[in-house]
Assembly symmetry: none
Homo-oligomer: 134 residues x 4
């Protein structure tokens, strides 16, 4: 089974950018391979620059945790089981916008999106992830 | 009194891995010496990769604080006495899975376990730590 | 004068990737804006992963020094005027593959290319930079 | 094709430790998967502790550069093409003891060995890497 190719990554990237255009929110979109290494990235005009790191870190978090970043938010709250988790493993992001990408049941990479609301980021990330199945 | 040998560490590691197998949760297990330096480590197939760091950091925290990591959780909550502790000393972990290891009353090292629930992590860490007494 | 747009960056990126294809060496190509922030990135299939960082760092170095990275090599040798420069400013790269990008005389960004020989990296970076003038 | 399992990693680790015993030099041995994530590690009694990091970093360098670390030494010397390379990508090691591991032509991981002379480290790393083919 081949890993994620640049062609795969750019198909996902372009699907994410198209979704961002549709909702009218400029975004940073990062595509990582299964080992957590960057394959493709784009920042749309007007998207904030902190999100260059946040988008990549969301994707990386999804790889390291094998979960969407949105799933972590409740676990790291004061009083919750994994309080302080976000400070481990080089710094994890615990709000929505990172999703792992599977093909035929295998983890092949992750998408990270940042610059909008968490809800918008998730929507764009899921649109990007869906493109690999098409 | 001799410190922790690799033979000691691997006996603990293997006891931890056996416990992880018994509960059916793949784990990352790290064994550190009394100085906080890694002696042995294993990641079971399917265990999440964020836990490579978390397991080692839990063990390290147990050495630095001379306490199980689970004992720290209540102390670092908002309003509690050591709020923010987890950001000191290079980054501590405050949820369960790290335990200090004693032999004849002396601290000789620590075990850190990560990838399951905090409760599972503690169970595996304690099984590992118990192996040095056998 | 508008800054570097994503459309500009992708035109440069694609010109770089096309040049890499022509010489048959898979590359990492990064495009940064004038503030040194990533706009677009692609890693071709088979390009080494160390170069994900190196490509971005070459582009960043070109912005920070306002010079092609290849111009720094002789200056940082033992005995030369800027010996040790590469350890400043967060880590600079002093071998070829990073070039600043100008439009109408203004610095608008930089290209960083890595994974081939320094000579190949420079060739691809210059092909990318030329695309903004077309 | 499955990735590197813990069973694979421990077979390599044990082959490396046996080789270290044979030459009488206690070693740190690290086994990483293809994504550069730690799978198994052991430090033999008496092996220096700086090598905990060095062994892992050698293995990581072999993954990131897709080359044995010993191959980098001449390239990074003063006056050579990649002078300063070791400061990129989070810190690379350019002396011998890290080797990439291939199975059926695919990169599946890397071995990093440290605590002896570079020549000894290479010998142990190669013994470890050979174990996956047996």
């Amino acid at each position: 089974m081949p890993g994620l190719t640049l062609a795969d990554a750019r198909r996902m990237l372009d699907a994410g950018l198209a979704e961002a255009d549709k909702i009218g929110q400029p975004m940073n979109v990062a595509i990582l391979d299964a080992g957590g290494h960057l394959v493709a990235f784009a920042r749309q005009d007007g998207a904030i620059r902190a999100s260059i790191d946040i988008a990549q870190r969301k994707a990386s978090t999804s790889i390291l945790m094998e979960a969407p970043t949105a799933a972590l938010m409740s676990l790291v709250q004061p009083g919750a089981e994994l309080y302080g988790l976000e400070q481990t493993a080089g710094g994890l992001v615990v709000f929505g916008g990172g999703v792992p990408v599977y093909r035929d049941g295998d983890l092949v990479g992750a998408v990270g999106v940042s610059a909008g609301s968490a809800e918008q980021d998730v929507q764009v990330a899921e649109a990007a992830a869906a493109a690999i199945k098409a």
